[in-house]
């Protein structure tokens, strides 16, 4: 394959991945890595390096829009980033020690979970809770717009949420993905933060988390610009298009189709990891 062919194919795949990732809320990383490794035979280390970079691009690129809406909570985000960044460094250190086969198998398992989330839909509760003692001390509670008014909300179970965020960071550093779904689970299901606040704050945190492992990825040579260039530009453009279409797309049908695709990728990643083909 020539450099031009490779660049164009990767760009097309990444645009599609970014588009679907934005529409389903699962991010582009989970599709880019299997697309590169399974379809083009790219070594997983190059694939996760390129994916990590694209994760930073989409997170930072979308932040301005989210902030304008006034949903994200900078205190919750910053506090939990202590856990995600330490987790990310641990994950990136681990990525250098485990074999590519093992990485492929873990990635397959994460994909299977993403497929499940895609079928089920990323929905959460919107029941408002009172802050517990620790959350009060950390001043994590805030308010967010509901029907034009500011609705106050509280936060609970900070230690369990913090621990889960460490896990989210570790997965991000190990596999070069944003692991936004785990972040949302930590905030929405565990810490009882309203869903809309959880998803937008999660998006805000993804870039910082990814930046924590990016230095280690760079030093090890996982970030090869010849692979990362078409991935980053493609995912970014795809995500921007996806966000525009999102308003009038039939998300439910799309989610099921997307779920089937990811499930197939998950099985293939795991099988290839076990047989040593990846």
């Amino acid at each position: 394959m020539t450099a031009l062919e490779f660049t164009l194919i990767v760009f097309a795949l990444s645009t599609l991945a970014g588009f679907l990732g934005a529409l389903t809320g699962l991010g582009g990383g989970v599709v880019v890595v299997p697309a590169l490794t399974l379809a083009l035979g790219v070594d997983m280390k190059y694939a996760i390096g390129a994916s990590l970079v694209s994760v930073i691009a989409t997170s930072s690129g979308a932040a301005a829009a989210y902030v304008r809406e006034g949903f994200s909570n900078i205190r919750i985000g910053m506090f939990l980033e202590i856990a995600t960044t330490i987790g990310a460094i641990a994950g990136a250190l681990l990525a250098g020690r485990v074999s590519t086969h093992a990485l492929a198998i873990v990635f397959g398992l994460v994909l299977a979970q993403a497929a499940y989330m895609s079928f089920k839909g990323l929905t959460g509760h919107d029941k408002i809770v009172e802050s517990d003692k620790l959350a009060l001390k950390l001043r994590l509670g805030s308010d967010y717009p509901v029907d034009g008014q500011r609705q106050k909300y509280g936060v609970r179970n900070v230690p369990a949420g913090f621990a889960t965020m460490f896990g989210a960071g570790a997965l991000s550093g190990l596999l070069g993905i944003g692991s936004g779904a785990v972040k949302v689970i930590a905030m929405d299901s565990i810490m009882r933060i309203p869903f809309k606040v959880s998803t937008t704050t999660s998006n805000f945190m993804i870039g910082v988390t990814a930046a924590a492992s990016a230095g280690l990825y760079l030093e090890r040579g996982y970030i090869d610009p010849r692979v990362a260039m078409p991935v980053m530009l493609g995912v970014l453009i795809g995500a921007l298009l996806g966000a525009k279409v999102l308003v009038f797309a039939r998300v439910k049908t799309l989610r099921i189709v997307f779920g089937v695709v990811i499930l197939a990728l998950a099985v293939e990643m795991i099988v290839n990891g076990i047989t040593g083909k990846v």
């Binding site: 450099a3 031009l4 490779f6 690129g61 301005a64 902030v67 330490i86 910082v208 930046a211 610009p225």
Partner: protein, 121 residues
């Protein structure tokens, strides 16, 4: 300075950073394709490349000599820096709000991020 103004400032900054990074990557990418479009490429086996693409000083040095891969890498480096700058701005913002707790929290995050980056330089 309140939280919402701080966040909105940070949001704008992030978008500007991403645009600058994407433009640099695109510029380097066009140069790379003009020069190397017919080169055969294979990424089947991972080989850690030379140090001129793996350390901050190496990247900047090679980019200054017009190396197209290094120019793309400068763009990617700018991209990695945007969330780090974001945290640094938050430190200053919380300091201006006289919020001691969150000044410390964001400083801790900044130190962790610097650890990873210093590793790479």
């Amino acid at each position: 300075m309140d939280d919402h103004r701080l966040e909105s400032m940070i949001g704008q900054l992030l978008r500007a950073g991403v645009l600058l990074a994407a433009a640099t990557v695109l510029g380097g990418g066009v140069l790379y394709l003009v020069r190397h479009h017919a080169d055969p490429v294979r990424f089947h086996t991972f080989i850690a490349g030379g140090s001129d693409l793996r350390s901050v000083s190496g990247i900047v040095g090679a980019a200054a000599h017009g190396n197209s891969a290094a120019i793309m890498q400068v763009g990617l480096l700018l991209l990695i820096l945007t969330p780090i700058v974001r945290v640094a701005v938050a430190v200053v913002g919380f300091l201006l709000e006289r919020d001691r707790l969150y000044t410390v929290v964001s400083l801790i995050v900044l130190v962790i991020l610097m650890f990873s980056l210093i590793h790479a330089s």
